[in-house]
């Protein structure tokens, strides 16, 4: 088969679409669903900017076929803020701590870090650096990203304690 109709959840909403079987999940999100927040960099799994969450786990959307996401839940950067536009604590912290400059790597960074903070609510600096070792940033030198993540983790822990 060269084309297939797939049904999947994207950021909590069910979507049905016909896709070419050779289309990557990244291209399907961008071209098929116009969700261009997921960026595409190297297209061979090295740069990390296309990272999305598949059933909660961070994956490279350039290294998956769209048809493989059938029946799964995909979370993209478009679903990170709340429906009313209120930022996720990671987004607030990236703004406050200058965790981005050009912004190209940012969607992949944020999705990876969402997984990290779910699994590890109180990460060490080393754990943050380990988590984003698969996300390349050419602007920030990473320090501001690490600082932003540690701040977001603090905010999220405080909110949880409320």
């Amino acid at each position: 088969m060269l084309q297939k109709t797939i049904k999947l959840q994207i950021n909590g909403c069910e979507r049905v679409a016909a896709v070419d079987t050779r289309t990557s999940l990244a291209d399907f999100l961008r071209h098929g669903l116009s969700l261009t927040g997921t960026h595409v960099g190297c297209e061979h799994g090295v740069c990390g900017t296309c990272t999305v969450l598949l059933d909660g786990a961070s994956v490279r959307s350039c290294l998956m076929l769209a048809v493989q996401a059938e029946g799964h839940h995909v979370e993209t950067i478009e679903g990170l803020a709340q429906a009313d536009g209120c930022f996720h604590p990671l987004q607030d912290a990236f703004r406050d701590k200058h965790g981005l400059q050009c912004g190209y790597c940012t969607p992949g960074m944020l999705m990876t870090l969402k997984e990290l903070l779910r699994e590890t609510p109180d990460p060490t600096e080393a754990e943050v650096r380990d988590a984003i070792s698969g996300n390349i940033c050419r602007c920030t030198g990473y320090q501001s990203i690490v600082n932003a993540t540690l701040q977001a983790a603090r905010v999220m822990r405080m909110k949880k304690g409320d």
Partner: protein, 292 residues
């Protein structure tokens, strides 16, 4: 940078997959896809068909019995990394797994896929060779066989299975409870392919002398390599710095290649350091109290 056209098959049973595999020419099996999808996107390969085995039940899972640690071929690398039972019985696998790619690729990549890809720089084949693992392979008409990992490694990126066979399980025989272990690798950036890697397992007797040793080297040659002569030399020694230096000197017998990551001379010097660090750590971790 987009995958070429291919026919996509997504069987829901192992038998169905094996039938398609047997009757289709120029076909590739899609496991975790963390190497295959990159090769497709870069158009290194042009398969006519892909068989996606991700929806076949029963191919993933981790279990142990008195003899073996058994891991289903489609078990994700990150499940292996985080599994507490594996950390208890085969901690070198946990240590090596943390050095496999990055969390995003480990979330998707599988042990069976990594072994069949058989990249000489990757960690899992090096660990399986270290363990004298066996690989359970399935063919059509309920054909099943078990392949010793030494025979599984045929040549550069070439696993010892037939074109109509699929790897279904990997089995690692246990080492004594208080064995020492270490997996050390060197790469230019954390998470990159290893320029050189060394896995070591050490068992001591009641007197503290080494009674069993295994050394497996990755990254330097066309395939992962055992360093049998160095293993034999360590037997009966205490693993002091002189013993380790003698073992490391046997790196001269390895096949060591050049590529754009480094010349063979450079790799020879790196593997010496990497093996020394690995042996020191494994000897340190090997307890003198051996469980009966």
């Amino acid at each position: 940078m987009k995958a070429p056209l291919f026919e996509y098959h997504c069987p829901e049973t192992l038998d169905e997959a094996l039938v398609i595999l047997a009757k289709t020419e120029n076909v590739k099996v899609l496991a975790g896809g963390q190497s295959l999808m990159a090769m497709l996107n870069l158009r290194y390969i042009y398969p006519d068909a892909l068989i996606d085995i991700n929806r076949i039940p029963g191919l993933s899972g981790i279990s142990t019995d008195g003899e073996m640690l058994r891991i289903g071929a489609m078990t994700r690398q990150r499940h292996i990394e985080l599994d507490v039972e594996i950390e208890r019985v085969a901690p070198i696998l946990t240590e090596a797994m943390k050095q496999v790619g990055h969390r995003q690729t480990r979330n998707r990549g599988t042990i069976g896929g990594s072994l069949c890809h058989l990249d000489p720089a990757s960690e899992l084949p090096t660990v399986c060779l270290l363990y004298d693992a066996t690989v359970d392979v399935a063919g059509q008409d309920a054909r099943r066989r078990s392949v010793n990992f030494r025979d599984f490694v045929v040549s550069y990126m070439t696993p010892g299975i037939e074109p109509d066979e699929l790897v279904v399980q990997v089995n690692l025989p246990h080492w004594a409870k208080q064995h020492g272990y270490a997996f050390v690798e060197y790469s230019r950036r954390y998470g990159d392919f290893a320029i050189a890697s060394a896995g070591c397992l050490i068992e001591r007797d009641e007197q503290g002398c080494i009674r069993r040793a295994a050394i497996s080297i990755g990254g330097v040659g066309s395939v992962p390599q055992r360093l049998q002569v160095a293993e034999d030399g360590l037997l009966g020694s205490t693993g002091d710095p002189d013993d380790i230096a003698r073992a490391v000197a046997h790196c001269d017998s390895l096949e060591i290649l050049s590529d754009f990551h480094g010349s063979s001379d450079y790799r020879r010097s790196v593997i010496g350091s990497v093996l020394r660090r690995s042996l020191i750590q494994a000897c340190r971790r090997a307890s003198k109290k051996i469980a009966a």
